[in-house]
Amino acid sequence: MAALAPAPQAVQGDESHLPKAHSWRQWLDREAWRKTIIAIPYLWLLFFFIAPFLIVLAISAGTSQVGIPPVIWKSTFPFGTLDNYVFLTQDDIYWQGYLNSLRNAAISTFFALLIGYPMALGIARASSTWRNVLLLLVILPFWTSFLLRVYAWIGLLGNTSWFNRGLTSILATFFPFWVTGDHIQMMNTNFAVVLGIVYSYLPFMILPLYATLEKLDRTLDEAAMDLGSKPWEVFRDITLPLSLPGIIAGAMLVFIPATGEYVIPSLMGRGDSPMIGRVLADEFFQNRDWPVASAVAVALLAVLVIPIMIYNFFQAREARRSAS
C-alpha cells in the first residue's frame, strides 16, 4: 500500500474532455475517404488487370485471320470456340513449354529457398545496426537495371569469359576425371536459366522470410532448448514450422513470376526447349496467332492460380478449425 488514495485514472479512448475537432478535420476523417483510398488500387487492378484479362480471354475464344485485328469471332451464339485450347493439347511444344517452365521455376524456387533462408535468418538474428545494412545490400541490386544484370551474367558464363575459363581450370585441377577442356558449357542451358532466376528473384524470397523470422519470439527457442533440444532440433521443431508462412509467401513470389519468365530463358536458356513465356511470345509476334497465344496465356494463369486457390481454401479451413 504505497499510495494513500488511488489517483483518478483517465479512461483510455475517452476523448470527451478534448476540444471538439474542427469541421475540416472531421471532413478529412470521414469514412468515405478511407474507402476512396482503398478503392484506388482496386480500380487500378480492375482497369489494368481484369479488363485486359477479359480481352485476352475473349481473343482466346476467337479464330485467327489475316487482317486487322488478326482475330475474328463467330457471328452466332456462343460466338467463341474452345478450339484453341484443344490445339494446345495437340502440339507437344505447348505442354513441354509448361513443363519446362514449371520445372525450372520449381528448381529455382528450391534453390532460392535454400540460399535465401539462411540469409534471411542471418539478417533477422543480426544486431539491429547490421540488420539495416544487410537488408539494404539485399535490395541493392534493384538499383541496377534487371536487363543489365542478366547481360552481366551472360558475359560471365560465356565460353570464352575469364570466369568460365578460371572456374574450369580450378575444377579441372580438383576433379580431373570430371572436368576436362578449357571451358564448361554454361550459357544456353537450364543451369543458366535457373541461375539467372535464382539470382534475380532472391530478394523476393529473402524479404518475406526475413519479415516472418524477425517477428519470431526468441524465448520459444530458449524454451525448446531448456526442454532438451539441441540448436538444430530447435530449428527443426520451432523456427522452421513457425516460419512456414514466410516460406510459402517467398516461394510464391519466386515461383509465380519464374514460371512466366520470358527475358531470362530467352537470353540464357536453350533455344530447342523453350519455356512457356518464350512460346507465348513467339505465338504472338512470330506466328501472329493471337487466339492461340491468348489461350496459352489463359492456361498459364489457370496453372498458377488454381494451386494457389486450393492452398488458400485449405488455409482458410485450417484457420476456421483452429479458431472454433
Binding site: E222, D226, D237
Partner: protein, 388 residues
C-alpha cells in the same frame, strides 16, 4: 508424478539452511555476470537446499533474472561456478541441464497443442510411447487441463496457459524448477489462487523451486526463503519473517513493505536496550535489540513498520509502556479493512501509521480524522536498528 508425502527436506529438518552439516543442493559460488561495462550480477554466493521454494526478490535491473538465466544456462557467468546436486554445471548448455524453466511469457509453442507442448521435453527422454503418454496425462491431471489437451495455446485463457507452462516445465522431472515471474501475467484474483496451487504442487512433487519475482507479497507467500537483490548484490537472505521483521539493511527495510525510517544517534546502551536520539521524532526512542550492540555515539537509522504504531486521540497515561510521540493527522486513506494515516510531527517529519479498523464505525466515530491531534505509541521491541 511420484507423490512424496514427506515434507520437502524432512531429512535435515524443516530449516536445512540452519544445519551446518546440510549439503546445499544448488550452490552459487561467487558468480559475476557482466554485460560490457554493466555488472548485472556481482559476486553472488548462495546455497539453496533440496525441496526449498526459494525466491529471488528485487526491482527491475537488480540482476535476479540474469541469475536465473545463468542457472538455466542461457547466460554464462563472467566469473564463478554453479553447482547442482554436486555437479558443476557452469559450462553445461541449457539442453543438458537437469533444470527446467517456466518463462515469464510462458513461451508456449503456438503451433503445438497443449498435449504436444507438455510432451515436448519428453522426446529426448528414453521412454516408450506409452510411458510418454502416461506422463503427459499425469501432468495434465496435475494441472487440471486434461479436457483441453487438444487445444492450441491461443485458445486458452491466461491462467490455463500458465498451467500448461508449469506442466511442460515439470514434464522432465527436473531437479530444480526455475520460475520467472510465474504469476506476473495473471490478474490479482487468479494470482492468489494460483499461488497456493503452486505451493501445493511444489510440496507434492518435492522439486526445488527457484522463483524470480519483483512482487514482495508473492515472494512472502510462496517462499521458504527469500534473497533480496539490489544492483547485482544480495542484500539479505532469510525467511519471509526474517526479511520483514528483522531487515538488516536500510535498503531491505525500505524495499519490503512500508516502513518509517529516521536517522538517529545512539545515546546509551544497556542490556538488550538501546536508547537512540532521533531529532526527527523530537524524543529519545528506546529500542529492544539483541545481537551485536551498537556503540554509544554511533550514527544509526531506526525503523518502525506503520502497522506496529498505535494511534489514539487520547494522551496515553503515565503507566503506558513504549515510545510515545504526538502529532497531527494530515492525510487519511480509508481502505475498508484498515486505514493509513500520515501524521505530521512537530519537527515536520511525516510518520505513516496503519491501523486495522477492528471496530465498525461510521465516519464521525473514526479513530482519528484530518487535523486531529493524536498520540502515537510503539513498543521498543517493534523498532529496528539499522546500522548499514
Amino acid at each position: 508424478m511420484d507423490v512424496d508425502t514427506k515434507p520437502p527436506g524432512s531429512e535435515s529438518g524443516d530449516k536445512p539452511w540452519l544445519d551446518q552439516k546440510a549439503k546445499p543442493f544448488i550452490r552459487i559460488d561467487g558468480v559475476t555476470k557482466k554485460f560490457g561495462e554493466f555488472t548485472a550480477v556481482d559476486n553472488v554466493s548462495l546455497d539453496i537446499f533440496k525441496g526449498e521454494l526459494f525466491a529471488l526478490l528485487g526491482g527491475s535491473g537488480c540482476g535476479k533474472t540474469t541469475l536465473l538465466r545463468m542457472l538455466a544456462g542461457f547466460e554464462t557467468p563472467t566469473a564463478g561456478r554453479l553447482f547442482l546436486d554436486g555437479q558443476d554445471m557452469t559450462e553445461l548448455p541449457p539442453y543438458e541441464r537437469p533444470a527446467n524453466m517456466m518463462f515469464q511469457s510462458y513461451a508456449l509453442f503456438p503451433h503445438m497443442t497443449v498435449e504436444k507442448n507438455v510432451g515436448y521435453g519428453l522426446k529426448h527422454e528414453a521412454l516408450t510411447d506409452a510411458q510418454r503418454k502416461d506422463r503427459v496425462k499425469e501432468l495434465l491431471d496435475l494441472v487440471q487441463l486434461t479436457p483441453l489437451a487438444g487445444r492450441k495455446p491461443h485458445q486458452l485463457s491466461g491462467g490455463q496457459r500458465q498451467r500448461v507452462a508449469l506442466a511442460r516445465a515439470l514434464a522432465k522431472r527436473p531437479k530444480v524448477l526455475l520460475l520467472d515471474e510465474p504469476l506476473g501475467a495473471l490478474d490479482k484474483k487468479l494470482r492468489e489462487q494460483t499461488q497456493f496451487e503452486l505451493i501445493n504442487i511444489q510440496y507434492k512433487l518435492g522439486v526445488t523451486f527457484i522463483v524470480v519475482t519483483h512482487d514482495q507479497e508473492e515472494a512472502m507467500t510462496l517462499a521458504t526463503r527469500i534473497a533480496v537483490m539490489d544492483r547485482g548484490l544480495i542484500r539479505q537472505i532469510g525467511t519471509p519473517t526474517e526479511i520483514y521483521e528483522f531487515p538488516r539493511t536500510r535498503f531491505v527495510a525500505d524495499f519490503i513493505g512500508s516502513i518509517n525510517i529516521f536517522d538517529g544517534e545512539v545515546k546509551s546502551v544497556a542490556k538488550n536496550k538501546v536508547t537512540v536520539a532521533a531529532p526527527a521524532l523530537g524524543a529519545d526512542v528506546i529500542v529492544e535489540h539483541t545481537g551485536t550492540m551498537p556503540a554509544p555515539g554511533a550514527k544509526v537509522s531506526i525503523a518502525v513498520r506503520p502497522e506496529k504504531i498505535a494511534i489514539e486521540r487520547k494522551e496515553p497515561g503515565a503507566d503506558a509502556t513504549g515510545n510515545t510521540i504526538a502529532g497531527k493527522v494530515i492525510d487519511l486513506g480509508y481502505f475498508g479493512k484498515d486505514s493509513l494515516y500520515r501524521v505530521k510531527l512537530p519537527s515536520g517529519t511525516m510518520v505513516r501509521v496503519n491501523a486495522v479498523n477492528s471496530r465498525r464505525a461510521d465516519e464521525n466515530e473514526r479513530v482519528a480524522v484530518w487535523e486531529d491531534n493524536v498520540w502515537l505509541t510503539f513498543a521498543p521491541s517493534s523498532v529496528i536498528i539499522l546500522t548499514e
